[in-house]
Amino acid sequence: MVKTLRLLLVKFSQSFLDVLPILLVITFFQLVIIQKPFPHLKETIFGFILVVIGLFIFIQGLENALFPIGERLAVEFAIKGNVYWIVLFGFTLGFATTIAEPALTVISQKAGHIAAEAGVIDRAKESMATYVWGLRLVTAFSVGLAGAIGVIRIIKGWPLVIFILTGYSLIVVTTFFAPKEIIGIAYDAGGITTSTITVPLITALGIGLATSIRGRNPIIDGFGLIALASLMPILFVMFYGIFVFGPG
């Protein structure tokens, strides 16, 4: 009991240390550079406590649920040995987590307004809704595709560099042909697909797969799914822009 308590205390102080730099930076700038007292000192301290507690609870859940679930499933798939199911799983997971992503909803709506303002699509509500839905579908599809390709890569043991190099080259070339209005949104779309819950799950899954398949190295083959998932949406949202707006 005392041992468990001590362990919890160590983990809790770890969370405190994780957040401490933010507090130091903010205090330094407020007192030394801006040279004014804190505007809402009580709220800030309360918020700091919430952040430490939240991080502590999240990491406990991470070690008890997110990691083991991701790993177990990967091992089961590897035992089952059916490639199609694993690839379908990679696609579905990418698609489902992205289509429900709140940040994507916000960005798509912003994109809808920009498109309507530019006069590319009708200002009517329906055509804007269609455009926004199209954008969300395309983004989710591209992350699903990244999941599927990423899983195939792990199974086959293909080097990640080739995929990244090809992806970046395609992005650079497409940027020249894409309409100006879509480029900013496309580059932003790459960052929003990797949420705090998805990242640990996908990481555990990739490493689990690479560990269970003979001849794969967990470090070299296990990582890389997140890199693909942040690359694909950039490309596909630009494709969508070219399709809707016409080449820029």
Partner: protein
């Protein structure tokens, strides 16, 4: 009154986190029972763990959004305010009217960008998760803290450079394409085992903590810096923040290999 307000906000944040996790649970449940056709062992422990993930993340986000982000945003506003920027220069107001102010007057803002990028990345839950895994599978050769500091230095440098770009008003793609070239050269020379992890750490940093703060900083800057527009210059910090960690993690591994020559056992196989 105040307590009630916080309960409301926590409830709201819980709802959003749940929405985030529902499709994941649905996909996993379908494949676990529909395809693998086995019950989940220790499912009670797992369910409790999932509950902790949702509650922990919700509480974390409330603390950030209600208490730390408003302060960070108001700081960014104060630091970029032309009056503040020019306060220690003798040629005060004549320069402000519609003209750009040189980057040398913005040292405080650039430093703020670096430090806030660095410190928020250290607290990023998704990065902590990836660093824990990396340590586990490299049998300790990739240290959790080392990787996190490398990524945080990358984000800090990226944000500082992004802030500099907004002040300068130079085009984003020059920086990004240069970054890609540097990245490719590094990839060629860096130890092979670090490359996939380095690429992953670019996507990891753009999660819960860093993105909202960067958006606020970028918009604050672009609306306050004379001669720059929020629409054209305001964004792009996220692109910087996901490019530079890849460069810094590769650099970290190269330095480690050069001076300490520690390569993880599992990479030797």
């Amino acid at each position: 009154m105040d307590e009630l307000n916080y309960l409301d906000i926590i409830y709201d944040s819980l709802r959003i986190t749940l929405l985030d996790i529902l499709p994941i649970i649905a996909v996993f449940a379908f494949f676990q029972w529909g395809v693998i056709r086995k019950g989940l062992p220790h499912w009670k422990k797992m369910a409790a763990g999932m509950g902790m993930v949702v509650v922990g993340l919700a509480v974390f986000i409330v603390g950030l959004e209600e208490c730390i982000f408003p302060l960070g945003t108001s700081m960014a506003q104060q630091l970029t305010d032309p009056q503040f920027v020019m306060s220690d220069s003798p040629a005060s107001n004549s320069l402000i009217d519609g003209k750009r102010i040189g980057a040398e007057f913005y040292i405080e803002v650039i430093l703020f960008g670096f430090l806030i990028g660095f410190s928020t990345t250290l607290a990023e839950p998704a990065l902590i998760a990836v660093a824990l895994k990396a340590k586990e599978i490299s049998t300790g050769a990739i240290s959790t803290l080392g990787l996190r500091i490398a990524v945080a230095l990358g984000v800090g440098t990226g944000v500082a450079l992004g802030v500099f770009r907004i002040i300068e008003g130079s085009p984003l793609h020059y920086y990004i394409i240069t970054g890609y070239v540097v990245l490719m050269i590094q990839t060629y020379f860096a130890p092979k085992f670090i490359v996939p992890l380095a690429y992953d750490s670019g996507g990891v940093t753009t999660s819960t903590v860093t993105v909202p703060l960067l958006v606020a900083l970028g918009l604050g800057l672009a609306s306050n810096v004379p001669g720059s527009s929020p629409l054209l210059d305001g964004f792009g910090l996220i692109a910087f923040a996901s490019l530079f960690p890849m460069i810094s993690v590769l650099a970290y591994a190269m330095i480690q290999e050069r001076f300490f020559s520690r390569v993880p056992d599992s990479a030797m196989k």
